[in-house]
């Protein structure tokens, strides 16, 4: 479990990081916490030629709350968000999901944007981003662009990010009055990869459910309002459409069952939270 040799660049500023990505493309990986990347290096699953450490880039260490959106920079660690005193008020879904991200130890190193870039289908932060219709801010030497979270995740650990781009920040809307949020996860042990994670947003216009850990990316769907007769059928169809698979830790059937049952529970919980 020793990594293959790689070059290490500790970027002093955004420009330097983007230059390296421009020059190296897919041969480079951004090191932003390293809680997934470093095990992959040690197991030699990943062999980037260059690691670009961005944790010293001050402009990416910012968290901005402009009253309507929370914008989290590339080098912001998960624990920094988790410990924001007003987080549960500003964005209760994020506050509810963060304690489920790995363990306290990994959250003290891991970054929010790093988790989004890694795009593990059972990860909580991509799920929250998708559930809230957040945006991913990408930057390369050539340009800056924004991608809606729902279109960003394209498959298992696959995203719309180009090789020379970095996720400079993610932004997500703050809590809106009259909207309720809820999160639940089933895993074999606390901190394990989710067998299923559900995030619900319920507002005036109905319910939205996002599910992680089942399909090859977080998937969101608008559903009938809680209590409406169409909800069970819609949930059932959603459960089947996610194309669940068997693995060592759960069966496809179990995952569908959890989408139906836990999905309904979180929607109901979000409905209660609207008050």
């Amino acid at each position: 479990m020793k990594p293959a040799a790689f070059d290490y660049v500790r970027a002093e500023g955004a420009t330097e990081a983007l230059e390296v990505l421009h020059a190296e493309g897919a041969n480079a990986r951004v090191l932003a916490g390293g809680q997934s990347l470093l095990p992959m290096l040690n197991m030699r699953l990943a062999r980037p030629a260059v690691l670009v450490d961005i944790m010293a880039v001050t402009e990416w260490r910012r968290v901005d709350d402009d009253g309507s959106h929370l914008r989290i920079g590339a080098a912001v660690r998960q624990v920094e968000i988790e410990q924001r005193a007003d987080l549960a008020r500003r964005q209760p879904l994020l506050a509810a999901a963060l304690p489920w991200v790995g363990h306290a130890q990994t959250r003290s190193r891991g970054t929010v944007c790093g988790s989004v870039a890694h795009a593990d289908p059972s990860a909580e932060l991509p799920l929250v981003l998708v559930a809230l219709d957040g945006r991913v801010h990408l930057r390369s030497r050539r340009r800056a662009r924004q991608v809606p979270a729902t279109g960003f995740f394209t498959g298992m650990m696959a995203t719309a990010r180009a090789d020379d781009e970095i996720i400079e920040a993610v932004s997500l809307p703050c809590a809106k009055p009259g909207t309720g949020y809820a999160f639940r996860e089933v895993s074999r042990r606390h901190g394990d990869f989710a067998i299923i994670a559900c995030a619900a947003v319920v507002g005036e216009r109905g319910a939205r459910l996002a599910v992680g850990g089942v399909a090859d990316r977080p998937v969101t769907r608008d559903l009938p309002a809680p209590g409406s007769p169409g909800l069970p059928d819609a949930l059932n169809q959603f459960a089947w459409d996610l194309d669940a698979r068997d693995d060592l830790h759960a069966t496809a059937r179990y995952r569908r069952e959890m989408v139906r049952r836990i999905g309904r529970e979180v929607i109901e919980e979000a409905q209660r939270c609207r008050a």
């Binding site: 089947w240 069966t251 049952r261």
Partner: protein, 985 residues
């Protein structure tokens, strides 16, 4: 003089002398000790295949890498060693590295010795091995079939041993029984997973043809003989040392011994010291684990639930090699096959089977979990079948209190106990009445609440002869009797009269040094802090015997007992010397508070240190008939540990603790997650030497057993792929998952051990898995239940029929594979703006394939329907280079074709088949539909299994998207494709 000294140090929870170093990071583990100058670091290339013939190994590129000193293969090791001895009489070999053949995922294939571990691992990537995969067998019962792949031709099949035993008159007892109640169990594989992995530093001195090895081996040191023999030296030319600290073992570090042979041979081959520290991936795949076992157990039972006879049929799976001391897991319990019960008629059939899985070895509980899961599930089944309270069935069958010492039908001599009283105390102090009320209330509210029990006899201090029960009486007579269990301790008095103790007990964190200081302090009237205890071992200098080591919970009953005997003997000699100086008879000499004095007159006293130094400084003053008192080494073996009788009765262990456990659980109706509401574990482990450490042993054993019951399994796919290669898939309980058990005690000292103590370290690994399972079965009202208690499996009993979808998604394929099987499947389609004939032509054109096969670097056409390619495949940062072969068959131009392919690379291998159909929907519009099935093995399957399905979908999707794009005539050159797929120019 009113300050009354405590009666004894033993029995008190003194702070552990070990902890100051361990808790401040100053423990001296093998990797902390540094290595001799010039040491080479070893890395091991391991088989990605469950079963394959090794056709070729090309090490040239690896050897050329700067910093690499040598690359050794099975053939090189074979020249320097002999096969490890195998525990059955059969013409089979067992090498520490694959020789021409590999039989499990993780089996060593080659060894790189380099200046550091990084460089050694770099070189591993450069070794090219030509494997010819062979069919694998992983299920022990399937392995018994005539048509199954055979692992070792010398056995003529996969059955290594088949013995039947008969005690009492089981046929008659069954014939007369009112009921015959049977149960079938498949007990899974698990391991105790110590934090510190294996480590070996080996040196070879050609001048004297001798090996000097430092390894975190745990014993039994009977294996010293096995190692020396394999290295082709007499025992006195294998110096085996252990580091001062070892970071947990729980049995597992017994199986470092094949690596001692491997590294010894490597040191000899290179002429340099060789160091190897096992990493976690190696540990999970290829260290050792407990056996998985199929058991059919049948009982003859009266209407009242009294068991009159048992019939055991056990099929033990020892993995790919029968490695010493296996099949000991099966025979360790042989005297205890009736558990805590008085059952006089027993038949046993024991079969030992080899399969394409990691070889097994010692693991906490050693054979007990497998036996008690069957026996205590059977007791519950009897109660269920006869509508009795399981507690009544247990009570009616317990060995009666007045029967001790009690000889079991199969030969164990249960030393002491009062099972009925102990059980009654557990029910009372454990609060069963309250738990029953809770169960009633929960059930009334529609919740799923259950209570389970387990009654277990915990054997400790193994008889070194029990394993010979695998031989017939005639074979045993030929081989000579084996029995006993020599424990040893040495007490040394130095020139200033300070006391040191050495034992050959090789602790891995247990606190042996603390307890021995207490024991010896009591004997000599000193304080524990006056005693220095040394527990690292050196076979060249220390007293040891084959039973030395740390296993079968032998420390408290045997090792601490031996230290007590050695200290007592030394005290008797000191008393004779003191008697002369104090002018009193030796019997009147008292050792107390650092003084040695006359019983009748406290003022007539000497300091202990002065007396203890006397043999050094003034031997002339010793009484003429008295030996010096400088050093005492004692070897103690209990006479009760006799060899197996001709009737195959064996007292497989010296001591027998008793455990009665109660578990109350609630199962979540939605998720089927199991929550333990209360766990009560009552122990009679004889005299308790250190209550804190006993609590630690019980709690730790409970935690590991809870892991085995609810989370852990060494899982293999049907093709032998190893599925739990990281701690993300091999799940061990953390503090979040482990409730604190209520630990209760009832003490009946063992009459057979010097201090009355019995072992206590393994009992919960025997009692807890089945107790939890019984509780969950009670909660869910189940007849059968299997481990680990996967919520998804339990949920099948809760979640009635599944509602069908209104519209079935297209991607859903036919029947999914069984859970855990690493088979991937899927289907999809793409619509292409091109006629079918054009797409057809593209499928047969290497240039198109180069463009559409994801990550292809170059495609070579072997025939019209066969292609070879170098490809880089991966998702996200995970990428690997593979050599791929693709062939086309079932050609039905231009409508359908089957693509069959395989890829091999450092990260693993895959084989797949895809069926592609082309359907023209218009003049320039074709629907390409595909359905594939793939199997993936090797490193990616072991450590990235969770991601494989999605990764395969991404890559196969890329192929068809690319095909569609290419056929659609989009202007994308090959280079652009590669850049998109790989981000590489």
């Amino acid at each position: 003089m009113s300050t009354s000294a405590p009666p004894t140090w033993v029995g008190r929870s003194l702070p552990r002398v070990e902890d100051a170093a361990l808790l401040t990071g100053r423990g001296r583990y093998i990797d902390d000790l540094g290595a001799p100058p010039g040491t080479l670091h070893a890395a091991i290339l391991r088989s990605p295949h469950a079963h394959a013939s090794v056709e070729s190994i090309d090490t040239a590129r690896a050897r050329e890498l700067p910093g690499v000193a040598a690359v050794l293969t099975g053939a090189d090791i074979q020249k320097l060693t002999t096969s490890l001895v195998v525990g059955v009489k059969a013409p089979v070999e067992c090498w520490p590295i694959g020789v021409g053949r590999v039989r499990y995922v993780g089996e060593p294939v080659a060894l790189v010795l380099a200046r550091d571990r990084y460089r050694a691992e770099d070189a591993l990537d450069l070794i090219e091995v030509g494997y010819r995969p062979l069919p694998a067998v992983v299920d022990p019962r399937v392995a018994l079939d005539g048509g199954s792949p055979v692992l070792h031709e010398g056995l003529g099949g996969n059955l290594a041993s088949d013995r039947s035993f008969r005690y009492g008159d089981p046929e008659r007892a069954f014939a007369e029984a009112a009921h015959r109640i049977a149960i079938e169990i498949e007990y899974p594989r698990s391991a105790c997973t110590p934090i510190e992995t294996y480590g070996v530093v080996a040196e070879y001195d050609p001048g004297i043809d001798a090996y000097d090895v430092l390894a975190n081996f745990q014993g039994p040191f009977s294996l010293h003989a096995v190692i020396a023999r394999a290295l082709k030296v007499p025992g006195n030319r294998l110096r085996l040392r252990t580091p001062p600290e070892s970071g947990g073992s729980f049995g597992i570090k017994q199986a470092v011994f094949p690596y001692i042979v491997l590294m010894g041979a490597a040191a000899r081959a290179t002429g340099r010291p060789v160091k190897w520290i096992e990493d976690r991936l190696e540990h999970l795949a290829a260290s050792a684990c407990a056996t998985n076992r199929f058991t059919r157990l049948e009982a003859g039972v009266t209407n009242e639930g009294r068991i009159t006879a048992l019939a055991w049929d056990q099929v033990e799976d020892c993995g790919a090699h029968l490695r010493a001391p296996e099949p000991a897991t099966l025979y360790r319990m042989h005297g205890n096959m009736t558990g805590a019960y008085d059952i006089r008629h027993v038949s046993i059939r024991n079969r030992v089977v080899l399969t394409n899985k990691m070889p097994t070895g010692l693991n906490r509980g050693f054979g007990g979990p497998q036996v008690y899961f069957a026996l205590e599930r059977l007791v519950q089944r009897i109660a269920r079948t006869l509508s009795l309270d399981p507690l009544d069935v247990i009570r009616r069958n317990l060995v009666p209190a007045d029967a001790f010492p009690y000889r079991t039908a199969t030969g164990a001599l249960l030393d002491s106990g009062d099972y009925p009283t102990t059980m009654a105390k557990a029910l009372d102090q454990g609060g069963l009445a309250e738990l029953r009320r809770k169960r009633d209330a929960a059930r009334a509210a529609g919740r799923l609440y259950g209570i389970g029990y387990a009654a277990v006899v915990e054997p400790s201090v193994s008889n070194m002869g029990y394993i010979t029960t695998v031989l017939t009486a005639a074979e045993r007579r030929k081989a000579g009797p084996k029995n006993g269990a020599q424990a040893t301790a040495t007490i040394n008095l130095d020139a200033v009269g300070s006391v040191s103790v050495h034992v050959a007990s090789v602790p891995q964190g247990q606190g042996h040094r603390t307890v021995l200081a207490q024991v010896v302090a009591d004997a000599l009237g000193l304080r524990p802090q006056d005693i220095r205890v040394i527990t690292d071992m050196d076979t060249a200098k220390d007293a040891w015997s084959i039973a030395s080591g740390n296993y079968s919970s032998r420390f408290a009953p045997a090792v601490a007992g031996a230290a007590h005997l050695a200290a007592t003997r030394l005290r008797e000699r000191l008393a004779r010397i003191a008697a002369a100086q104090l002018n009193v008879p030796a019997e009147e000499v008292l050792f107390e508070g650092g003084k040695v004095r006359a019983k009748a007159n406290p003022d007539n006293a000497l300091s202990f240190s002065r007396l203890a130094a006397a043999s050094h400084w003034a031997p002339g003053t010793l009484p003429a008939d008295t030996q010096n008192a400088i050093r005492e080494t004692i070897f103690w073996t209990p006479p009760e540990l006799t060899a197996p009788t001709d009737a195959d009765e064996v007292n497989s262990s010296l001591c027998h603790g008793f455990i009665f456990d109660i578990c109350a659980v609630e199962v979540d109706r939605t998720t089927a997650e199991v929550k333990i509401d209360r766990y009560v574990t009552m122990h009679d482990c004889g005299r308790i030497l250190h209550p804190g450490m006993v609590a630690g042993q019980v709690t730790g054993g409970f935690a590991q057993a809870l892991g085995a019951a609810t989370l852990e399994e060494h899982a293999y796919a049907a093709d032998g792929s190893f599925l739990t290669g990281t701690l993300a898939d091999y799940l061990i309980p953390t503090v979040m998952e482990v409730p604190e058990p209520l630990v209760l005690h009832h003490e009946t000292p063992s009459p057979f051990t010097p201090l009355g103590a019995k072992g206590v370290g393994e009992g919960n690994c025997m009692s807890t898995p089945v107790c939890i399972a019984n509780a969950v079965a009670d909660a869910l009202d189940l007849d059968d239940i299997s481990l680990p208690l996967l919520p998804a499996r339990l949920a099948e009993h809760l979640h009635g029929p599944e509602p069908a979808p209104k519209t079935r998604p297209t991607a859903l394929a036919a029947a999914p594979a069984k859970t855990g099987e690493r088979r991937l499947f899927g289907e999809g389609q793409a619509t292409v703006a091109a006629p079918a004939a054009r797409i057809w032509a593209m499928l047969l054109d290497p240039n198109t394939l180069l463009a559409v096969v994801p990550g292809a670097h170059g495609i070579e056409k072997i025939s019209d329907t066969q292609f070879r390619a170098d490809v880089t495949l991966g998702i996200g940062p995970v990428k690997g280079r593979y050599r791929a072969e693709i062939s086309l068959s079932d050609l039905d131009p231009p409508r359908a074709v089957t693509l069959t392919g395989g890829a091999d690379g450092v990260l693993g291998f895959g084989r797949g088949r895809g069926h592609v159909t082309l359907r023209e929907e218009g003049p320039d519009r074709t629907v390409i539909a595909y359905r594939y099935e793939a199997a993936i093995g090797g490193k990616v399957a072991s450590i990235g299994g969770r991601l494989l399905d999605g990764a395969a979908r991404v890559i196969i999707g890329q192929f068809f998207q690319a095909l569609a794009a290419q056929a659609g005539g989009r202007r994308r050159g090959v280079g652009a494709w590669l850049r998109r797929l790989l981000g590489r120019p």
